[in-house]
Every structure is written in C-alpha cells, then in structure tokens.
C-alpha cells in the first residue's frame, strides 16, 4: 500500500431543493457549480479533473450527462468522466484520480430531477430484471420490508421511526403516528420528500487545499461496499456494506461530531447508526438528510458536502458523509472528513 495523498473538500454548493424545476438539467446545475468554484476561488479552467453523475431514467431521455457536460465549459477539452450512480461515487472516482500527483484539483457534480417521472415506478427498473422488476416492486415497498424486519426483530418500533421523522422534519411523533400507512409499516413522514437538485464539490490536494480554503475538510477515509441484491438472500435488519465501508474509512478511529446520512427512509437511520457504530454524541443529519430532500443522484453528494461544510464553516473537527444506492441500503459509501 502506498502512502495516501492528503485530499480535501475546499468548496461545496447545492441548488436549493425544489420540486418541478422548469429549467434544463444543465441550467439547474449552473448556480451550484459556479458557487462551489467561487468558494474555492477557482475557475473551470483551473480544474484538473471533473467527474459528473446523472441518471437517464429520471428524465426519460438517454445521455443526460452529454447535456450536463455543458456546465463544465469543456473547451478546450477537459479530462472528465461520468458515473450513472449517486454523485458520491463520482467524488470517489475523483479522489482516486487525485492520488496520481499530476493534478491538484478536481470538481464533482451531480444532478437529479425527480419531478418529471413517477419515481416509485422508475425505481423498479434497478431491480433484478427477471424476478423483481416484472412485479414492479417499488422503492417504498422494499423499504417497508426492511422496516418491518426491524420491528419483528424487536430492534425498532413505529414510534422510533416517527421520532426520527419528527426530529428531522419538525413536528410531533404522536401526530405522525395517526397518519395512514403508505406501505405498512411506513407512513408518509417516513418516506423521502422527492426533489430536484444539483450539487457540486471542489477537491484539492495538500498545500493547494490550504491555499484555497481557510479550513479544508480533509478526506480522512472513504470507502464503498455492496450487499447481495435479492432481498430474500440477505438479513435486512443489518447493513454489512455500511459496516465494512465504515470500518475501511476509519469511522471508529475517533468521535464523529456530525453524520450526514443518506437515510431515505426514517428506519434506515437506525440501520446505519448501528452499522457505523454511531453513538448519541453524534448529531445525525442536521441538514434534514435524504428524508427531507431527495434529489436522487445528488442526494449522497449533498450529504458529503453538508458534512464538509460542518468543518469548513462550522468549525467541527470530525464529520461523516454517507451515500447509498439500490434497494434496502444495498450499496453504501462512507466518507470521513477532518478539520485541522
């Protein structure tokens, strides 16, 4: 193993979450990209590597990323890549790229417009195409199975879910519990508020990061893992993928002050808290997390950006950003950030 390069987040911005954006995806991204660059005192031409994230099924047309490339001003040509995954994986790719020493800055951006599709239907398209997709099992139904597994194993109650939702959304857990189920045992407050949004993060290496940002958020560790896909072959009450990603990124090496979790459903926070070994001393998802705003594809990158801002602006010392993908928290990415 080679010594790891010091890499930090030096700029982050997101477009304000909305639902029903009228502009193109590229137009939606412009303010976030401009602001992230401005925060790092950089221009597009200064960036050594860019990586984007988008998903064609959100808008129903192929090559969303060919359109959003226009936000980079890629002329002259740039070194750029794209993942059809949450933007947190684009950040991972950029982090890997920055280890090579030939460049010292990178920018990552992600966009998702959920208001133009029926996400519950579209979400079924990421499932096993033979056994699951033809049943059109939607994301809320699969999440409800995981939530019920927690209840049946006595790890949680519906009240626990409502309390998490009340903490994040503001409100009264008792009132939440009077609402009807969407898919039992999940109520509307337990399911994510779907939104449209984009986010951008600027990364820099070593002294360059210190030069660009008064208090860079250093990536102390980052790792991602998957579970097996089919829900009938897994224990849904735990997340091995999050546990291993947490271990590999060094979550347990010190106290985490703030954890921004991509828990799209209130019960997922419980699964993740256990997998990552978070204690009551950790403030979880003060931004509202993925429950309060879920611009699919940007959601995880926003978590990392929010965790970084806790250091850059908030003066915290050690935070964590998390991203997930797939049904029932199948894939998890953990990014541990530290201030100097």
């Amino acid at each position: 193993m080679l010594p790891m390069t010091d890499i930090a987040i030096v700029g982050y911005a997101q477009s304000p979450p909305t639902f029903g954006v009228q502009e193109t995806e590229t137009q939606m991204l412009f303010p976030a990209v401009n602001e992230a660059l401005a925060r790092a005192n950089l221009t597009r031409a200064d960036i050594g590597f860019m990586c984007s994230a988008s998903c064609d099924y959100l808008s129903g047309a192929p090559f969303a990323f060919v359109q959003t490339l226009e936000v980079t001003g890629a002329w002259p040509p740039i070194s750029e890549s794209h993942v059809e995954m949450d933007g947190a994986w684009a950040l991972y790719e950029a982090w890997v790229r920055l280890h090579h020493g030939d460049i010292d800055t990178a920018m990552v951006f992600a966009s998702g417009i959920t208001s133009r599709c029926d996400w519950r239907e579209v979400s079924a398209l990421q499932l096993d195409p033979y056994y699951l997709m033809p049943l059109w099992v939607d994301d809320i139904s699969l999440a409800a199975l995981q939530a019920n597994a927690l209840i049946e194993s006595r790890k949680a109650t519906e009240r626990n879910f409502a309390e998490i939702a009340a903490r994040i959304r503001g409100g009264d857990a008792d009132e939440f519990l009077k609402e009807p189920y969407v898919v039992e045992p999940l109520r509307a407050h337990d399911t994510p508020t779907m939104s449209d949004g984009g986010a951008a993060i600027v990364l820099a290496v070593g002294d360059r990061a210190r030069e660009l940002c008064e208090r860079p958020a250093w990536i102390a560790g980052i790792d991602h893992r998957s579970e097996a896909h089919y829900p009938g072959v897994r224990d849904l009450t735990i997340s091995d993928a999050a546990r291993i990603a947490g271990q590999q990124s060094g979550v347990g090496k010190g106290p985490i002050e703030v954890a921004e979790l991509a828990a799209q459903f209130s019960h997922e926070e419980l699964v993740l808290r256990e997998a990552l070994g978070l204690t009551d001393g950790t403030v979880v998802s003060p931004s509202g997390g993925a429950l309060a705003a879920n611009p699919v594809i940007a959601t995880g990158l926003v978590r990392i950006g929010e965790a970084a801002n806790q250091i850059i602006d908030g003066g915290r010392k050690r935070t964590l950003g998390h991203a997930s993908a797939g049904p029932c928290l199948q894939q998890n990415l953990v990014c541990v950030l530290e201030g100097e």
Binding site: Y131, P180, E184
Partner: protein
C-alpha cells in the same frame, strides 16, 4: 410526478434467460418450483446462477421445492400502484418455500389481519402460464 402534461416512454424488451432463470421459469410454467444449490449446500429459491455470498457458480442441477412455505417478512400495501401484481390491498412477502434456504419475494392475497410472519402460505398458480415470475399469481393462506 409534478402536475402537467406527460408522455409515455414505451420500450419493449425481449430477455434471454440463460440456463438457470430459464429452467426456473420452465418449471413455473409446468407448475413446479426449482431451486439452485450453492457449493455450500444452500438451496436458493428463486435460483441464482451464483452464490450471492461469494460469486461462485452454483452446482449443476436443480432441486425441486414445495409450493408451500412460510412468510418470513411482509409489508402491507393498502393502495396498490397500477403496475403491482394485485389490484386490491395485498402484502408483499418474503416467502421461504419448504425446502429452500432463501426467500422469494412476491405478493400475498389475504386479509390484513391474517398476514403475519410465520404465516403458512401456498402458491396460487396462474391459469395461463407462460414461463414468467407472474406464473405465480400470488401466494394465499394454506
């Protein structure tokens, strides 16, 4: 989806199934349920071509399991979506068929108060079967 005019994207697909999914679907068409067996001896229903824990290929051959089993986990859908397998309230369930070591996800057609973990269920076969996961119309109480 936000309000306003919409259009429908329609893509027809024709999926080749391969030796394992194809055998399973052939079995469903003929009214029987087949599982695959991992090197470690676990019986997977529905069958995968690989051990989900290791990625290793499953053993040659198939194991027939029962059309009855136990609900291992469930979630109640009071308002089915238009594409869900049933158009009335139903439960999604992870059903462990007798003889299998993994659970099959499908719909259970039963009243809400009958659905619980541990519930015994059996396959309700579709009358016109073609070799498809929906040849199992749903599960019902034994």
């Amino acid at each position: 989806m936000a309000a306003g005019p919409s259009w429908t994207l329609e893509f027809p697909y024709r999926r080749s199934l391969g030796p394992v999914v194809g055998e399973f679907f052939t079995g469903l068409r003929d009214g029987k349920v087949l599982g695959s067996r991992t090197k470690g001896g676990k019986v997977l229903v529905p069958p995968l071509e690989y051990d989900p824990e290791t990625g290793e290929a499953v053993q040659d051959g198939f194991v027939e399991v029962a059309e009855t089993g136990v609900v291992h986990n469930w979630a109640w859908v009071n308002e089915p979506l238009r594409k869900h397998p049933l158009d009335r309230p139903f439960a999604w369930a992870l059903v462990r068929l007798d003889g299998a070591d993994s659970s099959l996800l499908h719909a259970v057609d039963a009243p809400r108060d009958k659905v619980e973990t541990g519930m015994r269920v059996k396959i309700r076969w579709r009358e016109e079967r073609k070799g498809h996961i929906t040849d199992i119309e749903c599960f019902e109480a034994v």
